[in-house]
């Protein structure tokens, strides 16, 4: 599903990624680790198509609409409610039975009672849960998750673990994390960036 050869990314004179080569199968789970500034986020942005590589070859054989991207920002509007945010993304991603699916995800991630509250009033953990709802809304075939456990409480971590366990067999994952031990059980490949 993803094939990268000698991938390089520069911003001006600064080289963020150098010579990254990787393959991820349709049901693969790639765990990306590395210190701050090693290029984990940049790698995910390249795969998502949000940035272009400076050098090297990158093939991602999945349509843009089947990618689920969780970045450092939740990518939701703070002035809109949780429901309105998911409804907007549901429309743009042409999600079938949008309302049912939105409701199901909000309930699963413990946000149903806060569905009419503005996202800006959410705590860090609630915001991360909402971001996960957004990522999973359109049943992506490729999930790109950047520090998915960030801000989650114990219950949130368990919810995410359950989601990963359910989805791992049928989708490809690239997960960047500082806590690889938490995801070792799912990983089929590892990439350590320096």
């Amino acid at each position: 599903m993803i094939r990268a050869r000698s991938l390089e990314k520069r911003y001006g004179d600064k080289r963020i990624l150098r010579g990254v080569t990787l393959d991820v199968a349709a049901d693969g789970f790639l765990l990306v680790t590395g210190p701050n500034g090693s290029g984990k986020t940049t790698l995910l942005r390249l795969i998502a198509g949000l940035a272009a590589p400076s050098r090297g070859q990158l093939d991602v054989s999945v349509a843009r609409g089947r990618i689920g991207y969780l970045g450092h920002e939740p990518l939701v509007y703070r002035e809109l409610t949780a429901l309105e945010n998911l409804d907007l993304y549901g429309r743009l991603y042409r999600v079938q039975e949008r309302r049912e699916r939105t409701g199901m995800l909000l309930e699963r991630f413990g946000l149903w009672d806060a569905r009419h509250a503005r996202a800006g009033s959410f705590s860090r953990g609630m915001m991360q849960r909402l971001a996960l709802c957004r990522v999973l809304l359109h049943e992506p075939r490729l999930l790109l998750l950047d520090e998915p456990y960030s801000g989650l409480d114990t219950e949130g971590v368990q919810l995410l673990d359950r989601e990963l366990a359910e989805r791992a067999p049928g989708a490809a994952f690239v997960v960047a994390t500082h806590e690889p031990e938490r995801l070792e059980q799912f990983a089929s490949a590892r990439l350590a960036l320096a």
Binding site: Y69, Y77, E84, L92
Partner: protein, 212 residues
Amino acid sequence: MTYLADVGALARKDLLLELRARDTLPAMLLFVVSTLVVFHFVLPAEATDLAATGLLWVALLFTALLGLSRSFAAEREQGVIDGLVLAPSDRSAIWLGKTLSILAFLGLAEVIALPAYALFFRPVDAALVAGVVLADLGIAAVGTLLAAMATASRARELLLPLVFLPLAIPIVVGGVGASVSGEPGRYLGLLGLYDVLFAIICCASFEYVVTE
């Protein structure tokens, strides 16, 4: 139909955001009315209608600039533009949705500005209104593209007027011409041509502005 549904969803979202945050339209209204009030006292009593018309267009242009500078604020501050870009919809839908919301804000500002202009300076005629409507289309189309470009830059407050104002010169020429000329048709035609030409260019090039 799907494209129009995407545009509708994005424009509706912008209107909803403005209804909640109220950080663009009130500023535009306050700016345009206060500018016209100041011009009313600044302009000498013996000044011609031509001068007053010129000042109206200055006020409208800078009011539009104020709105445009805020148009991608929510997307920039919350990184949401990445979410929109990743969606499978045609990326020009983002441009069109934003253009429509800017157009709505401009229209609302002018609903207040034109009667204020009539009160302070001279009556508003059909040619002036037609000029304003056509100018709004061009301002919103070009301004949205340039606002998206500027938003990626750290010097966005400086960059937007720097690139927008030169491109708005034909709009001012057409608008002022339609407002004061005895034959406004020529100038309205110029504005119409500008709108069509730049709408096509902006629609086609927006994808390259929001992606690397």
